[in-house]
Subunit: 223 residues, 2 copies
DNA sequence: CGGCATCCGTGACGATACTG
DNA sequence: CAGTATCGTCACGGATGCCG
């Protein structure tokens, strides 16, 4: 909560009091992909300044959105991670990602790019296709790889992460940049991308089967 | 979009470029309840300053979130209303309202209060109970009345509004402040409130029936 | 009177430098 | 590595003025 509150007895205004400050929700976006140290957070938030990052982390920790944890002996320093309440911001970021998809357009030359920034938009679009299946999915784009966790998971488990899943994956997706953009802005459904072959799913488990099933049933219905 | 962009090729960052400025989403919150003139907007946004309101309205209009319309002869001046794209921010505000419910707590003495600020939290909680029924519902709290539109509606139709529905309603809800708060923070489901009788539904149409049905089936299942 | 524009003080932000 | 210190700039909040 910033020094300046809206002072309105309104759930929306209260949320904005807590995470409405500049950079706050982008810090949450980064931490949804797992705990990070200060410096790593700094490098994945191009444009933030060191004092603002430190100030936001302090505010978010005080408000119970973020917690700070000493790293075990192999590592040095400490890491920041989302609390359960912080992780509950996922629907907020999902809604923001869905709304912003159509206005994403082409990347400006000045834009920073990180592959895992597509994780939340894709998660919002792919979640309906997973059915009740749970599992981890590696997603490979030309610019890099990240992983998504579909279905319910124990509280505190990151819903996505940078790079391939360190614990192995139940399915692997491969898609090109254009397909990823069309999925993100809603002009292409995952089902259509599967049918067209610009999105491929590999893997043997029930999660991979469930994803593929949607393409085949959609094709069958269409014929 | 503020003068300072995040310059990140990320759907979330792009959304925040457009509506992440202070007061922007609260302006959208107000306009979701229907078109308003500058002065009315000003009085329902306690704490905003005149120049900031004017500046935000200019930015939102330029970005296609808000449009300005001359009022027909009976009225004077002009009114601001959401574009279709602006109305698509409803899921964002719904998610913000759901997250902020638990932290709403008691109202501080300095808090401004408006009855219709509970419209979006209640809409997010009641929408699942309406099933596929569509219609308008008047909601009466001790502090005032507002109305909600359930189900799909033509683009541009406000999803809620101040006071009772001017076009008549398909159902009427009455609840006290404590029940409203419990619904907003998620500690009480609408089904339980119906069963307990602290939330009453009157009306004869299918929407009212659908709402009441949820309470009786839940009771039946529980026995 | 509605709809802003202007002025001004304060504080937030951004960039860089520096320290434990 | 993980911030704090410093400083210039700009956005915000409050008040007032202008103009149809």
């Amino acid at each position: 909560m910033p020094r300046r509150s809206y002072d309105q007895y309104c759930a929306i205004a209260r949320t904005l009091d807590t995470v409405g400050d500049r950079w706050s929700l982008l810090i949450v976006r980064e931490l949804l992909a797992g705990p990070l140290r200060y410096t790593d957070l700094f490098t994945d938030l191009p444009g933030i300044s060191t004092d603002v990052l430190a100030s936001r982390l302090r505010d978010l920790e005080r408000d119970g959105v973020v917690s700070r944890r000493r790293l075990p002996p192999p590592g040095t320093g400490s890491a920041y991670e989302l609390t359960e309440r912080g992780g509950a911001l996922l629907p907020v970021l999902g809604a923001l990602a869905v709304w912003g998809g159509p206005s994403l357009g082409a990347s400006a030359p000045t834009d920073a790019v990180r592959a895992h920034w597509f994780a939340l938009p894709l998660l919002a679009r792919l979640a309906p296709l997973a059915g009740d299946e749970r599992g981890v999915m590696d997603v490979t784009l030309p610019d890099g790889t990240f992983h998504l966790r579909l279905g319910d998971a124990p509280p505190g488990t990151p819903v996505c992460g940078r790079g391939p899943s360190p614990t192995g994956s139940d399915a692997s997706l491969t898609l090109d940049t254009a397909t990823c953009l069309s999925l993100a802005d809603g002009t292409l459904t995952a089902t259509d991308a599967l049918t067209a072959g610009t999105l491929t799913v590999t893997g043997e488990g029930p999660l991979a089967e469930s994803l593929r099933k949607h393409a085949t049933t959609a094709t069958a219905v269409r014929n």
